[in-house]
């Protein structure tokens, strides 16, 4: 498996990386999505700008009202961070379920959301967590609400010559009461269905709720049908069950040799139920 030849460039800062990026170049983070595609020659960039040695991208910062996770932080580091697991358990859970140990040690959260694989775990989880994506470009930086970030099949709001620097996740009551459940594709261990849910309850009733899926549609999405059905309700097996039936409303559900459209839709409801029953 030999990729086409390319130039390798190592960046030491975000601004240097941006200035190095040629029009046919690609950013290299953990390489766990990019390198396999290059080995199969599905992707043939002329150059790689390696951002994996940029220290500022590897920080996890605990702000007062949020936690910022650098784009270059590995899944394993996220999984093992105690503040994250305290304030936003679904983030830790998702990180610990990605691929296998090797993948978790090398793959990064920034690489995952930039790649935007519909079956990857981060997109759904970050949607449910109401995160903000912080992006650097030649002009400076900009912020994109996670609801606007994933725009299609392997497509995001990221422009050429932009680098994700971190994602910021609020320490909300909902995120403190959150979880992620996943039905695993047995070969790759990506999600056939992943469901993330975060629920804030006041006096036992749902005050705010975000439920999101990955693995199901062309793109990770929020299941607003489920959210609306449960808003202001006291959660019960009955209303969770009936809300879960809206898991794939309006979604073009994927069909592959691991799960047909029909079965995947069924799984989405099952996993919505399983996630919400825990909260």
């Amino acid at each position: 498996m030999i990729p086409a030849s390319f130039e390798y460039k190592k960046a030491t800062s975000v601004q240097e990386a941006i200035s190095m990026l040629g029009s046919e170049d690609k950013i290299l983070a953990g390489g766990h999505s990019l390198i396999p595609a290059m080995k199969l020659r599905l992707n043939m960039p002329t150059g790689l700008v390696d951002i994996s040695k940029i220290e500022s991208l590897k920080e996890i910062r605990d702000n007062e009202k949020s936690i910022s996770i650098g784009a270059g932080v590995s899944h394993a580091t996220i999984a093992n961070n105690p503040e994250i697991s305290k304030h936003m358990p679904m983030i830790s859970e998702a990180a610990s379920m990605i691929g296998d140990i090797q993948v978790r040690n090398v793959g990064t959260i920034g690489g995952s959301i930039a790649h935007a694989d519909p079956s990857a775990d981060w997109p759904g989880v970050l949607l449910a967590s109401d995160a903000t994506v912080v992006i650097a470009n030649a002009e400076g930086s900009r912020e994109v609400d996670i609801d606007q970030f994933f725009t299609g099949f392997f497509e995001t709001a990221l422009q050429d010559n932009e680098i994700i620097t971190h994602v910021r996740i609020p320490k909300t009551a909902a995120n403190a009461n959150s979880c992620y459940v996943k039905f695993v594709q047995p070969a790759s261990r990506f999600a056939i269905v992943g469901c993330a849910a975060a629920v804030e309850k006041v006096n036992g009733s749902v005050k705010s709720i975000r439920v999101a899926f990955n693995g199901v549609g062309d793109n990770a999405y929020r299941a607003t049908g489920i959210e609306n059905a449960l808003k202001d309700q006291k959660l019960s097996a009955e209303n969770i069950g009936s809300a879960a039936s809206h898991a794939t409303d309006g979604i073009d559900v994927m069909d592959d040799h691991f799960a047909s459209e029909n079965y995947r839709s069924h799984l989405a409801s099952v996993f919505a139920k399983r996630a919400l029953s825990r909260l």
């Binding site: 498996m1 086409a4 199969l40 070969a187 799960a259 069924h266 099952v270």
Partner: protein, 787 residues
């Protein structure tokens, strides 16, 4: 020194786990060039033209060859001939080193690019322009035999390579079925598997003009046979001018038995360019071109009388052989499959009808178990299903049908209806032990209780037999083998009493460097440190038939024992001379000959020194202490066992969790229990992999749609519980070590146990499904509950 029966740690592991193994791709030779093979992206297409000019002038490129450059070479042959029922010879289309007019499967070899580096060869291949006329493909074997299906080879009508039958006359089987009290019938698929050895195949061809000599380094399980086929059947070069070397090999599971086109290609091209050439498969190529396994479409009927005694078995199978005949392909669905349909049972009437079929897919050949897993799957699925249908206990149904125990020494072997004679067996013994271990009675209670709580538990059985220790040459010759299947061994005692053992068996994970050394050290009564094993080099080892079919110890080990016996016989003559006694008065133990009833003795090392410094020496005796032997077995060996799986099904998703797996195997005598246990564990993992996870999926156009580890689900440790394995011992009566072989047992026994457990869980919950297609993906199991 007693070593036989001890769990000695593996000697080779120090080398292998510290990265000091010597695999083919590790070998560097001055002047080495690198090859890349351009392969067909289509399953079936005519080649209208190939333009290699841009590739030829690309940087670093030395040569580009296409099929029409290779003149007078038909291709690689198959090693086994099976005739049609009417006596006609099977269809045997050429398997060219590079195709000329048409491609016949995705991955078919179109051009060979040779460059200074492998990167250059890979880049240049992208510059080759092939003009394909894409045609419809025959992919599904059951469809391929229908009139009007696309033909893989013009001269094989309806894509049939041969048809074949075995057993009692079909009229007798039909009559027995007509009288049966109950018939269980099952249509099922034994799906195609990709072998997935961790080391991709690799070959280096090195032609040296100065002495007109060729060396082939290759990742083979079978160096001597490769040399024979390469020289005598493919390239027509003299055998004494060719050395085939296969040092460390990273797993084979059957897929490296065969002589592949790439081996011949690098040798042929090395002479053309007069430089050594290395080719190593990329993982995608391994998926596409390592010979696959299984792939049967079967329809079977088993008849029972009122008491549950089996009265007849009738089987119809279509075996997919792929686009070309691989080395053992014709033997696998026939003589390694049909002959096992007696199983452990006394069924008096058995008949199998089989069609072997070409399709536009990669070749199918022996894969761990080879034919025997398919036979076991067929029988054991039928037996458990029959028990469910007749409302009988599956263990009891087996018991009343088992062949009674026989030792093969004072009691004769068991003659089956399908050509074989079993050597020795105690089938009740393994089942009873497995039932005890699993706690069968308690389980049935627990199963009922959990069902009341909505939990689906199931238990599945598989009691199997296999034919190993392949094989008596005269027998297999009569069945169409184009080679003998004996083994050779040389035991060379050096003057100082240290011993080198040369075996024609080949170790690629089995631990021969430990086990074989244990045998020799034990028999000679010397420390294991004084014995070394040499294998995998045709210049060092006189001859060999390689390792597969659980044959190494039963056949190769027996050849070693023969040589050791010759050493001891000659050594005794030298010892007798030195001790001034007669040979009959000597005892040999603990590495020395002693005159009975005295303390006069001479050590093994003193005898060996005398053999090489024969100053004071028996008259007329040749100097030296070095013996070669060939051992040709008189029968196959027949390991057997009982495997039991317990599963739980998640009703909402259909996901199956394997809770327990109990395996009680009988592989005859055991030299190294730890290694046997490892073989069973690995085999069981592979067999469960087939049941639950694996399977090559070709789409209608002939594309392999899961040709990568992102899509082809290999089993991993966390898919399994801890296996609970045990053994009983019924020695093989016809080889000197009493061993039967352990390499394939786990794979052969385990698959149906798991599937049966799932079916059991479903029936007990009221879902009376007869079959779920393997692998038992959650979706398939869920669908079975929701149809």
């Amino acid at each position: 020194m007693s070593y036989i029966g001890k769990s000695v740690k593996r000697i080779e592991d120090k080398r292998l786990v510290t990265g000091k193994g010597k695999y083919t791709d590790d070998i560097k030779i001055p002047g080495l060039t690198h090859a890349y093979i351009l392969r067909s992206p289509y399953a079936s297409a005519n080649i209208l033209g190939i333009d290699t000019s841009a590739a030829k002038s690309a940087e670093g490129v030395i040569s580009v060859f296409v099929g029409t450059d290779i003149e007078g070479i038909r291709g690689v042959p198959t090693g086994w001939q099976v005739n049609f029922k009417n006596g006609d010879t099977m269809k045997e289309p050429a398997h060219p080193l590079l195709v000329t007019d048409a491609v016949r499967h995705v991955g078919d070899a179109v051009a060979l690019v040779i460059a200074e580096t492998k990167e250059q060869a890979r880049d240049a291949a992208d510059l080759i322009d092939v003009d394909y006329e894409v045609l419809e493909a025959a992919v599904d074997p059951a469809e391929a035999i229908k009139d009007g299906a696309p033909l893989v080879h013009e001269d094989a009508p309806n894509n049939i390579c041969f048809d074949w039958e075995l057993g009692n006359p079909v009229s007798e089987v039909d009559a027995a079925l007509a009288k049966a009290h109950h018939i269980t019938s099952l249509d099922f698929i034994n799906q195609r598997l990709v072998p997935n050895a961790i080391e991709p195949r690799s070959a280096i061809g090195h032609y040296e003009e100065h002495n007109d000599h060729y060396t082939l380094y290759t990742s083979t399980q079978n160096p001597h046979l490769t040399r024979l086929l390469l020289c005598a059947f493919v390239l027509g070069i003299p055998e004494h001018k060719v050395r085939v070397v296969s040092f460390d090999v990273g797993g084979g599971f059957g897929s490296k038995i065969f002589h592949y086109t790439e081996e011949a290609l690098v040798i042929w091209a090395s002479r053309k360019i007069n430089r050594p050439i290395k080719w190593t498969a990329e993982r995608s190529e391994s998926f596409l071109t390592d010979a696959h396994g299984r792939d049967h479409v079967t329809s079977a009927k088993m008849g029972f009388d009122k008491a549950g005694k089996m009265v007849a078995l009738k089987v119809d199978t279509i075996a997919n052989l792929g686009a070309y005949l691989s080395t053992f392909a014709p033997a696998v669905p026939t003589w390694l499959h049909g002959t096992l349909l007696q199983g452990l049972y006394t069924t008096p009437k058995i008949h199998i009808d089989l069609k072997a079929v070409f399709t536009h897919t990669n070749a199918v050949d022996a894969y761990r178990g080879a034919g025997r897993p398919e036979a076991t799957y067929l029988l054991e699925r039928l037996v458990d299903l029959a028990a469910l249908e007749m409302n009988m206990d599956p263990a009891e149904l087996r018991r009343i049908n088992f062949i009674p125990a026989f030792n093969g020494v004072t009691e004769p072997g068991y003659q089956t209806q399908v050509a074989l004679q079993y050597d020795s067996g105690n089938y009740h013994g393994v089942l009873d032990r497995a039932l005890e271990k699993v706690g069968y009675k308690d389980f049935r209670k627990a199963q009922q209780e959990s069902l009341a709580k909505g939990k689906l538990l199931g238990i599945g059985f598989s009691t199997y037999i296999e034919a190993c220790g392949i094989a008596p040459s005269a027998v297999v010759g009569a069945l169409g083998a184009r080679a003998g299947l004996f083994e050779s061994a040389q035991v060379r005692v050096q003057p100082t009493g240290k011993v080198s053992v040369y075996t024609g068996s080949h170790s690629h994970g089995q631990g021969h460097e430990t086990t074989f050394v244990q045998v020799v050290a034990d028999k000679l009564g010397i420390p294991m440190e004084d014995v070394d094993l040499v294998h995998g080099d045709s210049d060092a080892v006189a001859f060999g038939m390689g390792t597969y079919g659980s044959r190494s110890l039963a056949v190769g080990g027996s050849a070693i024992v023969k040589s050791v016996e010759k050493i001891l016989e000659k050594g005794a003559k030298i010892a007798a001379h030195k001790l001034e006694a007669s040979v009959d008065d000597l005892d040999y133990a603990n590495g020395k000959w002693t005159v009975k009833g005295t303390d006069k003795s001479i050590a093994f090392g003193d005898v060996s020194l005398t053999a090489y410094v024969p100053h004071d020496y028996p008259q007329g005796l040749e100097p030296g202490l070095d013996f070669a032997s060939f051992y040709d077995p008189t029968n196959f060996t027949y390991p057997f066992g009982a495997h039991i799986a317990i599963v739980e099904i998640d009703k909402e998703t259909g996901k199956v969790t394997l809770q327990r797996f109990v395996a009680v195997d009988d592989v005859g005598n055991v030299i190294n229990p730890m290694i046997v246990e490892g073989q069973i564990h690995g085999g069981v993992a592979q067999g469960i992999g087939q049941a639950m996870l694996e399977g090559a999926v070709y789409d209608e156009s002939g594309q392999l749609i899961n040709g990568s580890y992102m899509d082809y689900a290999m089993p991993r440790a966390d898919d399994f519980p801890s296996f609970e394995v045990e053994r009983t011992v019924t020695p093989c009566p016809h080889n000197p070590l009493g061993v039967k072989g352990a390499g394939e047992a786990g794979t052969i026994g385990s698959t149906p146990a798991v599937v049966n457990a799932v079916i059991d869980a479903l029936w007990k919950a009221g879902f009376k499904v007869k079959d779920i297609k393997m692998p038992l993906t959650p979706e398939r199991v869920w669908t079975a509950m929701n149809n």
